[in-house]
C-alpha cells in the first residue's frame, strides 16, 4: 500500500496536510463527481491540448475503478495539426473511451478556412457553432471544459458550474453564487451547464501536474525541427499543403515548439530547444510572455474573450 500523504520524499509536508497539487486534484475530482451525479447526459470537451490531457487524467482518477461515465467530444475544425489527430485517436483507444468527433457540416460544405474567411469567422463557425450543434444533437446537459481562471481576465469571475441558456448564451447576471464546495447543478428546460474542474489551476500547476503524474501530451509541445514561415513576427508551421504561401515565401526549418495548440494556421510557434518536459517548464518559468499570446484569436481586443463567451464559445 502507498499513502498519498506519505509518498516517498513527501517528508517535506507535515503529516495531515496536503500539497497544493493534491488539494487541486482532490477539488477537481470532487467537481467531476458532482457534475456526473447531477446530470443525465454529461460529456467532456476534448481539445487535445495539455489541459485536456490533465482533465482526462483527472477523470480517470475520479471514477476509478470505473471508467469515466461520459464520452469525449472533439469539436474539430479540420485545421488542427496532424500530430493532434494522431494523438487524439491513440489516447481514446488507449483508455477505452468513446470519442465523438464533430465537424460543423456547413463549414465542411462551404470550406470555411482561416485564409479566406479570417480567424474570427473561422473560429466562430467551426468552434462556437460546432459546439452548439454537437450539444444539441446529442442532447448533452453538461459539458466539462478545461478552462482556467488564470488564463484571461474575464475568466477570473467564471463559475465552476456555469449555466447556459437553451440558446447557449452566457449571461453574467444569471450566474449562480458558489459557496463552499456546494455546486448547484440544477437545470431548467433546455438549459445546459459548462463545468470547469480545473478553474483554480494555473499554467504552472498544469505543467507541474503533467510532470508529476507523467501524463502523455502531444509531441508538438516539445521542440523539434519543423517547417515554419514568419508572418509579422509570428512563426506559423506549414503542417500540410493547404498552407497558403505568399509570393516567394519559403518555409524555413527551425527548432520550434508550441505553448498552446489550436488550428495550425492560427497557432504561433516559439523558437526553442526545449525537447523534454522539464525543459519546457524551465523555459516557461524563465519566460515573460503569457500563454495566450500564441493564440491569434485573442488579438481582437482585450474584451474579446468575454464577447466570445457570451456568444457561446467556451
Amino acid at each position: 500500500m502507498t499513502d498519498i500523504v506519505d509518498r516517498p520524499s513527501s517528508d517535506r509536508i507535515p503529516a495531515g496536510r496536503l500539497t497544493h497539487l493534491q488539494r487541486l486534484e482532490a477539488e477537481a475530482i470532487h467537481i467531476m463527481r458532482e457534475a456526473v451525479a447531477e446530470s443525465d447526459r454529461p460529456a467532456m470537451l476534448y481539445s487535445v491540448g495539455k489541459d485536456s490531457s490533465v482533465m482526462l487524467h483527472l477523470a480517470i482518477k475520479a471514477f476509478y475503478p470505473s471508467l469515466p461515465p461520459f464520452p469525449l467530444v472533439h469539436v474539430d475544425t479540420t485545421w488542427k495539426f496532424n500530430e493532434m489527430y494522431a494523438f487524439r485517436d491513440q489516447t481514446a483507444a488507449r483508455l477505452g473511451l468513446d470519442l465523438i468527433v464533430h465537424q460543423n457540416p456547413e463549414c465542411v460544405a462551404r470550406g470555411i478556412n482561416p485564409f479566406d474567411h479570417g480567424s474570427a469567422v473561422h473560429t466562430d463557425m467551426w468552434k462556437t457553432e460546432g459546439l452548439k450543434q454537437v450539444i444539441d444533437q446529442h442532447r448533452f446537459d453538461l459539458c466539462f471544459g478545461g478552462a482556467r481562471r488564470d488564463e484571461e481576465k474575464s475568466r477570473a469571475k467564471e463559475r465552476v458550474f456555469s449555466v447556459r441558456s437553451a440558446q447557449h448564451q452566457w449571461d453574467p447576471k444569471r450566474q449562480r453564487p458558489e459557496l463552499w464546495s456546494t455546486y448547484n447543478a440544477r437545470r431548467s428546460n433546455g438549459e445546459t451547464l459548462r463545468v470547469f474542474p480545473i478553474s483554480n489551476w494555473t499554467e504552472l500547476d498544469v505543467w507541474q501536474y503533467v510532470h508529476l503524474e507523467q501524463i502523455p501530451i502531444v509531441p508538438l509541445y516539445y521542440s523539434a525541427p519543423r517547417p515554419v514561415v514568419d508572418r509579422d513576427g509570428v512563426l506559423i508551421m506549414v503542417d500540410d499543403d493547404r498552407m497558403r504561401l505568399g509570393d516567394g515565401e519559403l518555409p524555413m526549418v527551425k527548432n520550434v515548439r508550441f505553448r498552446t495548440l489550436g488550428c495550425y494556421p492560427l497557432s504561433g510557434a516559439i523558437e526553442s530547444d526545449a525537447d523534454s518536459l522539464t525543459g519546457i517548464i524551465q523555459e516557461m518559468l524563465l519566460t515573460t510572455t503569457s500563454e495566450r499570446q500564441g493564440r491569434i484569436i485573442d488579438f481582437d481586443g482585450s474584451a474579446s474573450m468575454e464577447k466570445k463567451k457570451q456568444e457561446g464559445y467556451f
Partner: protein, 633 residues
C-alpha cells in the same frame, strides 16, 4: 514569473522537486477600491513576478487610458475583469486570483467593498482560510470595516489580518497605527474574532507588502507576504471527526461497490468503524481505493473511494461518519440565512436545500430577526431581501445529517435553490436542531383516512380553483359543490375572501403574505382530505410554487387543479367587487394582474376558458374529471 530563476536555470529538477510540496492558502480581501485593495492584490501579483510582459504592456496602456495613478502603473487595472465593470470603475462580483511564492500557492477571492457587497463577500469568504481586512490609515475603523469583520466571523474564518494601508499618507505614524489597533481589537473581541495580525503597510509604495519597510522601524511583525506564507490554517479540519458525504456509488462490476466522495473532516483508516447517516447503519472500512493504489490513511481534503466490510445500503447524499463521533440527524433547525437573489425570501414557500451532496425540500419560517450588518443590531423583519442576513427556523421534508457550522463548514453550510428557476437564491449556516422536531411526532390515530373513506361512498380530494380576481372561480366552485351535494358527496368550500375574514385575517397582500395565505389553506385542505371530504378551494393563488406546495400536501390522484382562465380585460370589465377600479385608481396595492404577477398553470387537470365555456358546463367537466380519477363514482 522568474522567481528563484537561478535554481530554475541551473537545476530545474531540484526546483520542481521543491515546488511539488508547496501548500495552498485561500484568502479573501475585504475593503473598497478606495482602501487600495485592488492595488494591494496587484502589488502581490507584481511582486511575486506573476505579471507577464504582455500583461504589463496592456497594463501600461490601460493605465494611460483609464488609470487613476497619473503616469504610474495602476495595479488595480490588473484585476478588473468584465469590460462593463471596467468602464464603471467598480468590480461587481467575486474574482479569483492566483499567485505563488517559494513556499505557497495562493488563491485570492477578490470581492467588492461597495453597498451590494454581502452576496459576493459571503461567497468569497465561504472557501477562505484567512481574511485580509483593509483599513485606510487616514480613516481608521469605519462602518464597512465592522461589516466586513462581522461577515468574516459569521462565515467561520478564524484567522484575520488587518492590513492598515496608506501608511505613507500618515507619515508612517506609529500613533495612528496603535490607535487603529486598539479600536479594532476592542470591536473584534465582541464578535468572536481573536486571531488577528495587524500589519501597517503601503500597497502603493510597497512598504511591508513583500519587503520590510525601512520607514516603519517601530514595527517588528511580519510583512504581509511573510505572514501569508507561514500562517498555519489547515489543522482544524484534520482534527475534526471523520466526515465524508457520498457523492457517487462506484460500481464497475458486481464484485465492487465503493462510495466515492471527498473527505471534509478528520482521518480514516481501513478497519475504522463508521456510521452511515441518516440511516445510522454501521460498518468497518475495508479499503480506501484510489487510482494511485489503496491508501492506509486518508485525510480531510482528499477525494477517495471507500469500500465497507458489510453490504450496507448507502447512496448519494448520505454522510459517512466516524463511528464513535457521528453527526447529528434532524429535520428542523435554527439557521442564519443570507439572501442572495433579487426576489425576496418567501417564508412558507418550499425551496430546495443542498447541503453537502444531499438535496432536500425546505420551508423557511419568518425571520426571527434581521441583522444590521453595519452595527449588528437585531431588527424586526417579515422577510429577507437581497443581501440581507437573518435568523430563521427551517423545516425540512426529511431528516438530514449535519454538524453545527462552527464545527464544520462543509457539513453545516447549505445553499437554497428556487424550485422553479433553479437559481441559487440564498445560503445558510446551521447552528442547532430544534428540539421540538425530536419530540413532536405525528399522533398515531386509530381511525384513519381509509376508514373514514369507507363509510363515505367516495374518496377524498382537493379541487383547487386558480385564476384572476373576477374570473369566475367562486361561481363555478359553488355550482360544483351543489352538484356534488346532490350526489351525496361530503364537501367543503374554502373561499379566499371568507377565509381572510378569520383564519387569515392577519395577512395582507404582499408576496410574502400571499405565500403564507396559501400555505395555511394547503394545510387546512390536507386535514380535510384526511377527514374524508372533497375540498373545493377557490383562491387566486397566483404563484406556481405555492400551488405545487398544496399539491404536494396530498397524495397523487387527490389533487385537481382547475385553471379558470379569463383574460385580464374580461375579468376587469366584469369587476364584480369593484376591486379592479380601486387597483387602477391606486387605492389597492399588490393586486394580481395589475401590479402583482399571476403565473398561470403549465398543466392543469381542468382548463376552463370562460370566454367560450359556461359556468354550468365547466362544473360538469370538473365532475367528470372527479369521476374519471375515481374520487367519486
Amino acid at each position: 514569473m522568474a522567481h528563484a530563476s537561478d535554481l530554475i536555470a541551473s537545476d530545474i529538477d531540484a526546483y520542481l522537486e521543491s515546488h511539488q510540496y508547496k501548500s495552498l492558502l485561500r484568502f479573501i480581501t475585504c475593503g473598497s477600491v478606495d482602501d487600495g485593495k485592488s492595488t494591494l492584490i496587484g502589488r502581490l501579483l507584481y511582486e511575486s513576478h506573476l505579471v507577464f510582459e504582455d500583461h504589463l504592456a496592456t497594463l501600461a496602456a490601460d493605465s494611460a487610458k483609464v488609470g487613476t495613478q497619473g503616469g504610474d502603473l495602476d495595479f488595480a487595472l490588473l484585476l478588473d475583469g468584465l469590460s462593463a465593470e471596467r468602464e464603471q470603475g467598480i468590480t461587481i462580483d467575486v474574482a479569483y486570483r492566483f499567485f505563488s511564492t517559494e513556499r505557497r500557492k495562493f488563491i485570492v477571492a477578490d470581492t467588492p467593498g461597495h453597498e451590494q457587497y454581502t452576496r459576493n463577500m459571503v461567497t468569497g469568504a465561504s472557501t477562505a482560510d484567512l481574511a485580509v481586512i483593509l483599513i485606510d490609515a487616514r480613516k481608521g475603523v469605519l462602518t464597512q470595516t465592522r461589516r466586513h469583520s462581522f461577515l468574516v466571523s459569521l462565515l467561520g474564518i478564524k484567522r484575520v489580518v488587518v492590513a492598515i494601508n496608506k501608511m505613507d499618507l500618515v507619515d508612517y505614524s506609529h500613533e495612528v497605527y496603535s490607535a487603529i489597533e486598539t479600536e479594532y481589537s476592542d470591536f473584534a473581541g465582541r464578535i468572536g474574532l481573536d486571531d488577528i495580525t495587524f500589519i501597517p503597510l503601503s500597497a502603493l509604495k510597497g512598504d511591508n507588502v513583500v519587503d520590510v519597510s525601512q520607514r516603519m522601524r517601530w514595527y517588528h511583525g511580519p510583512t504581509l507576504m511573510g505572514h501569508l506564507e507561514t500562517v498555519q490554517v489547515d489543522d482544524d479540519l484534520a482534527e475534526a471527526p471523520f466526515r465524508m458525504p457520498v457523492q457517487w456509488v462506484n460500481r464497475p462490476n458486481l464484485d465492487f461497490r465503493g462510495f466515492s466522495g471527498r473527505i471534509v473532516g478528520g482521518t480514516i483508516r481501513p478497519g475504522d468503524l463508521v456510521r452511515v447517516l441518516p440511516a445510522g447503519t454501521t460498518s468497518k472500512v475495508d479499503r480506501i481505493v484510489t487510482f494511485d493504489g489503496d491508501l492506509d490513511r486518508a485525510i480531510a481534503g482528499q477525494s477517495v473511494t471507500i469500500t465497507l466490510a458489510d453490504e450496507i445500503d448507502a447512496s448519494r447524499g448520505d454522510l459517512i461518519c466516524a463511528g464513535d463521533a457521528p453527526a447529528e440527524v434532524a429535520d428542523q433547525f435554527e439557521a442564519h440565512i443570507v439572501w442572495m437573489h433579487e426576489d425576496e425570501m418567501l417564508p412558507g414557500r418550499s425551496y430546495l436545500m443542498k447541503i453537502g451532496t444531499r438535496t432536500v425540500g425546505v420551508t423557511l419560517g419568518h425571520p426571527k430577526y434581521r441583522i444590521d450588518v453595519n452595527n449588528l443590531d437585531h431588527l424586526a423583519a417579515t422577510t429577507l431581501d437581497l443581501n440581507e442576513i437573518g435568523v430563521c427556523n427551517l423545516s425540512l421534508d426529511r431528516p438530514i445529517p449535519f454538524d453545527p457550522y462552527d464545527h464544520n463548514r462543509e457539513t453545516g453550510g447549505f445553499v437554497i435553490i428556487d424550485k422553479l428557476t433553479h437559481n441559487t437564491v440564498g445560503a445558510g449556516l446551521l447552528h442547532f436542531a430544534l428540539r421540538r422536531s425530536h419530540n413532536i411526532h405525528w399522533q398515531k390515530v386509530q381511525v384513519d383516512k381509509q376508514a373514514r373513506t369507507e363509510i363515505n361512498n367516495h374518496r377524498s380530494g382537493v379541487v383547487w380553483f386558480t385564476g384572476l380576481s373576477g374570473s369566475g372561480k367562486s361561481t363555478i366552485a359553488n355550482i360544483v359543490e351543489s352538484k356534488l351535494h346532490l350526489l351525496g358527496v361530503r364537501t367543503y368550500l374554502l373561499d379566499g375572501d371568507n377565509v381572510r375574514h378569520g383564519l387569515n385575517r392577519d395577512l395582507g397582500f404582499t408576496d410574502a403574505d400571499r405565500v403564507e395565505n396559501i400555505r395555511r389553506i394547503a394545510e387546512v385542505s390536507r386535514l380535510m382530505v384526511d377527514a374524508g371530504l372533497v375540498v373545493l378551494v377557490s383562491f387566486i393563488s397566483p404563484f406556481r410554487a405555492e400551488r405545487q406546495l398544496a399539491r404536494s400536501r396530498v397524495e397523487q390522484g387527490e389533487f385537481i387543479e382547475v385553471h379558470v382562465d379569463t383574460p385580464l380585460d374580461v375579468a376587469e370589465s366584469r369587476d364584480p367587487k369593484g376591486l379592479y377600479a380601486k387597483a387602477r385608481a391606486g387605492e389597492l396595492a399588490n393586486f394580481t394582474g395589475i401590479d402583482s404577477p399571476y403565473e398561470p398553470p403549465e398543466v392543469a387537470e381542468v382548463h376552463v376558458d370562460t370566454t367560450s365555456m359556461s359556468a354550468e358546463s365547466a362544473a360538469d367537466a370538473i365532475i367528470a374529471t372527479l369521476q374519471s380519477i375515481g374520487i367519486i363514482a
